[in-house]
Amino acid sequence: MANGNDSPVLELRNVTKRFGNLVAVNNISFSLERGKLVTFVGPSGCGKTTLLRTVSGFAELDEGQIILDGEDITNMPPNGRDTAMVFQAYALFPHMTVAHNIGFGLRVRKKSKPEIDAEVERLLALVQMDGLGDRKPHELSGGQQQRVALARALSLHPKILLLDEPLSNLDANLRVSMREEVRKLQRRLGLSVIFVTHDQEEAMSISDLLVVMDHGVVKQIGSPTEIYEHPIDEFVANFIGHINFFPGEVIDLSGDEMTFKISQTNLKVEVPPFPVSVGDRLKAVVRPESIDIVSAEKELSDRENVLEGRVEFGMYIGSIMRLTIAVGDQTVYVDEADPQHKGIFEDGQKVKLVLKKRIHMLRETSD
């Protein structure tokens, strides 16, 4: 390798890409550690694909620099770059067999036939497709085609693997199992991967690092936990999972604790990690699953941080029950993982909601 193992494998410096007047990627910088999986996530049209394509070379940069393993590849054509891409619709060569598809890059590199055959066998085994080398792509299921595309991309031992919504054409169950497989393979082979998705759950579950994008700019870069627990702004908070916002005012500060007044209640919470003073307007950000819910009759030992509300309705989302609660004129979402145990909450029932002491706070933005 050209560089020491702790230098980043990929570095984007102030990358900008425009289409006419539209700035699809706006001055983005970030770097990826070797052997890590980073996910670009964001709403449709935010520029994820475009950013990925600047790395593969299919989108020419307007400004900025791309460094791959210490080498400036900004002006290198795509076929010279040591990157490999897995396309959304797989882009397998329909007129070639699976084995030919996987061996294509090796043939371009003029490897010997026995060498290619052996490598293709190895790759087929790697993606659990042994014995299917003679099939044509149209004779495969979606998941199998995906594996072939992956094997083909891995055939040249790229310095970085680029995956553009690789799972979006699969059905829900297959998506989940395939993404686990991709993650395992990435860990096992120590691959450096950029993964693009607009599915936040997929992004959270698969990544070492998340890059949350919106309108061509990076909103936040961080580990899934960081982004989930400490979203930098409302956009990120909203995008990554369901969220409740409680706007309010700091009315008292004492040591590590402060009193935060939301519509009818005063909350006693920890002081956020940024400087605050009395009178500041903030927003409390609370995930639905970190709110405890009990029926209104139940006596609570600790009376602090309790909101009273009424169940509007509840519905199952996967294995949890999401309750929509009216608290004054605000709607609050609460996830209950074990409704059976607590007793089903009926529509219209009066309930108490208990908030934690440690609550993520955002400064209220002007817009």
Binding site: F58, T83, M85, F87, A89, A91, L92, L156
Partner: protein, 648 residues
């Protein structure tokens, strides 16, 4: 164009050009393609246009070498009297003197079309009469014949001042309108009955609607002559005082010739409407007639309009039918040919060509840039299986009244060709014979046609499909212009491309007229757009990511094209090949200007023998021509079957 629009256009052009120049391979390939398009399509058509704006005059130059040293004396003694004598000669339009040091040069321009030899003799005589007076001062006198070409609108002026010229324009347009109307009407009946009619009528109508497609475009004229010509069966049997030559013949022949085109397009649009709208309308109480006029026809209007435009273009450009059965009525395409072949009047022929091009070009632009992509927007959805359903009698019988006679006519035409081919001389000696098939020239021309069609069918798809790849996938400056230039060969009537080639490839270094290769190139250029469009359509179906995947794997652009793109668009290549081959076998209108005695084509040979009255032989060669085309297509189909590719 507003300023900002213009700016953004220029901006884009500049950025496209920069992008383009950074890719030397692409730039080289594109340049070669553009040069070929310019050479073999744009410049020939352009030279027709230029030619129409020029007039050529015969000139005689008189050169007198001086013996005296004094130039003023010489002028007074020699040049002056010569000019005086010449001015009064008949046919002289203009005289000019170009004096240099030791001679006097007088250029005499005669009227257009003036016999230049007669003019030369007149001048010689006039000068000789003067000889006595200046014998002492002149050493010798030389005469030269020449030509002078002048930019002028005079040919257009003459076109509009002489009725035998502008009548051709009027006739061609009237013919196109009449033919188009009839074809659209008949094709609609065929398509409607073929889709919705009772079972027994569907299949025959479908077959008959498409059958004329496989025939050389003028054999209907040929069989109409056998039926209703001066010696035709009907004319003789019924002692008719008239015959089909002229308007009735041309219109009938064109109707049958262009029926398949109209039928295909209209059937396609009717099919795509599907039955659910009809059902919805009838659910709301609309009668069959209501549905036809208020739902079906309005919905299929874009398709019908498209069919009408194409038939209009084809009718104006048609050469074979008016040639055979026109009976002396002037039409643009054929008269342009006669102007060239019998008067060598290329200037007037060029003016005819301009009027031939104009309607086609207008229609083509309407079709290409206004109607295109709009055919189904009002309808939406794919062609659907239409369910059988009873047609209201008010529609059924009138439509049958149109379709049945036309269907019978088509069958009769094909039958007459067969009968004609095996009969000694129809209506005079009706005995069976095979002698018409034994024409050596006919067989030789068939062989030439095969070589010709095959050659064109190799060039056009390779060039057209490669060009489609550049146009669809690559960023090149002025893409639309390149595309338009490439399609021009198809839009411009064959007569114009023929005359254009005569004009453009007539002088070194591009002296190609008279060669066989120019015939092939001409045919390939004229049919380029079919392969181009087939390639474009196919490329739009292929996910661009597949090519990117190859590039991503390190393949070069060239390798990507040959290993990935070409195999995937091979069906477009095959379709281009089959189409070009088929039309090559029956080509008439452009090649007629370019053939030489040694390499006559079957279709032209048929035309020639038919015109000389050897109808039996014309029929026999037509039969063989159709047979050869079908055998070749059958062979291709088998080949495709064994190699598991789809061709057609």
């Amino acid at each position: 164009m507003s300023l900002s629009l213009q700016n953004s256009f220029l901006h884009e052009l500049a950025s496209d050009t920069r992008h383009f120049l950074r890719r030397p391979g692409l730039a080289a390939l594109t340049s070669v393609a553009v040069i070929l398009i310019l050479l073999f399509i744009v410049f020939p058509v352009g030279s027709v246009l230029l030619k129409s704006f020029t007039v050529t005059y015969p000139t005689v130059t008189v050169r007198c070498q001086s013996k005296v040293s004094n130039r003023a004396d010489f002028k007074e003694l020699v040049t002056g009297p010569i000019l005086g004598a010449i001015r009064s000669i008949e046919g002289v339009e203009e005289t000019r003197e170009l004096t240099d040091e030791e001679s006097s040069v007088v250029v005499v321009r005669f009227r257009r079309d003036w016999d230049d030899l007669r003019g030369l003799n007149d001048i010689k005589r006039a000068v000789q009469k003067l000889q006595g007076t200046f014998a002492l001062s002149v050493e010798n006198i030389k005469y030269e014949l020449g030509q002078e070409t002048i930019k002028s609108l005079a040919t257009y002026g003459r076109f509009f001042s002489k009725s035998y010229y502008y009548r051709a324009l009027k006739n061609s347009i009237v013919l196109a309108i009449v033919t188009t109307t009839i074809v659209v009407f008949v094709a609609f009946c065929f398509a409607y009955l073929g889709l919705h009619g009772p079972g027994f009528i569907k299949a025959p109508l479908r077959v008959l609607g498409l059958l004329p497609l496989i025939a050389p475009p003028f054999i209907f004229a040929l069989s109409l002559i056998l039926i209703g010509g001066r010696m035709g069966i009907l004319t003789r049997l019924l002692h008719l005082p008239f015959n089909l030559y002229g308007w009735p013949g041309v219109i009938t022949a064109q109707m049958i010739t262009f029926l398949p085109l109209g039928y295909l397009l209209i059937e396609n649009v009717l099919r795509s409407i599907g039955s659910h709208l009809d059902e919805a309308a009838s659910d709301m109480g609309a009668s069959g007639v209501d549905i036809l006029f208020k739902v079906t026809i309005p919905l299929s209007a874009p398709g019908i309009l498209k069919a009408a435009l194409l038939v209009f273009i084809m009718s104006i450009a048609d050469f074979g039918n008016p040639m055979l059965i026109g009976g002396g009525v002037s039409f643009l395409a054929t008269d342009a040919y006669f102007l060239w072949i019998s008067e060598n009047n290329l200037e007037m022929a060029a003016v005819f060509c301009v009027f031939l091009v104009l309607p086609s070009l207008i229609m083509f632009v309407i079709h290409q840039y206004i109607l295109k992509g709009r055919e189904y927007t009002t309808i939406g959805g794919k062609p659907q299986q239409v369910e059988e359903r009873r047609i209201s009698p008010k529609i059924f019988y009138p439509m049958m009244a149109v379709a049945i006679p036309v269907a019978l006519m088509i069958i009769t035409c094909f039958g007459m060709i067969l009968i004609g081919a095996f009969t000694k001389i129809l209506m005079i000696d009706n005995s069976f014979t095979l002698e018409h098939f034994q024409s050596t020239n006919g067989l030789r021309s068939l062989l030439t046609s095969l070589k010709f069609a095959f050659g064109a069918a190799l060039i056009a798809p390779i060039f057209g499909v490669t060009l489609s790849y550049i146009l669809v996938r690559k960023r090149i400056p002025l893409k639309r212009v390149v595309e338009f230039m490439a399609l021009l060969g198809f839009a411009v009537p064959g007569t114009v491309m023929g005359i254009g080639y005569i004009l453009f490839f007539n002088s070194p270094p591009l002296k190609l007229t008279g060669t066989f290769i120019i015939l092939i190139i001409n045919e390939a250029a004229r049919n380029l757009s079919v392969s181009l469009e087939a390639g474009v359509a196919k490329l739009h179906q292929i996910d661009i990511a597949i090519e990117e995947a190859a590039i991503d794997m390190g393949a070069s652009s060239f390798r990507t094209f040959t290993r990935v793109v070409l195999p995937l668009i091979s069906s477009a290549l095959a379709a281009g090949f089959v189409y070009t081959f088929m039309v090559g076998m029956i080509a008439v209108s452009a090649v007629i200007f370019l053939i030489t005695p040694g390499n006559n084509l079957a279709s032209l040979y048929i035309l020639a023998v038919a015109e000389e009255g050897f109808l039996g032989m014309a029929c026999a060669i037509s039969v063989m021509l159709i047979a050869v085309v079908m055998i070749c297509l059958g062979g291709l189909k088998l080949l495709a079957h064994y190699t598991k590719t789809t061709i057609f």
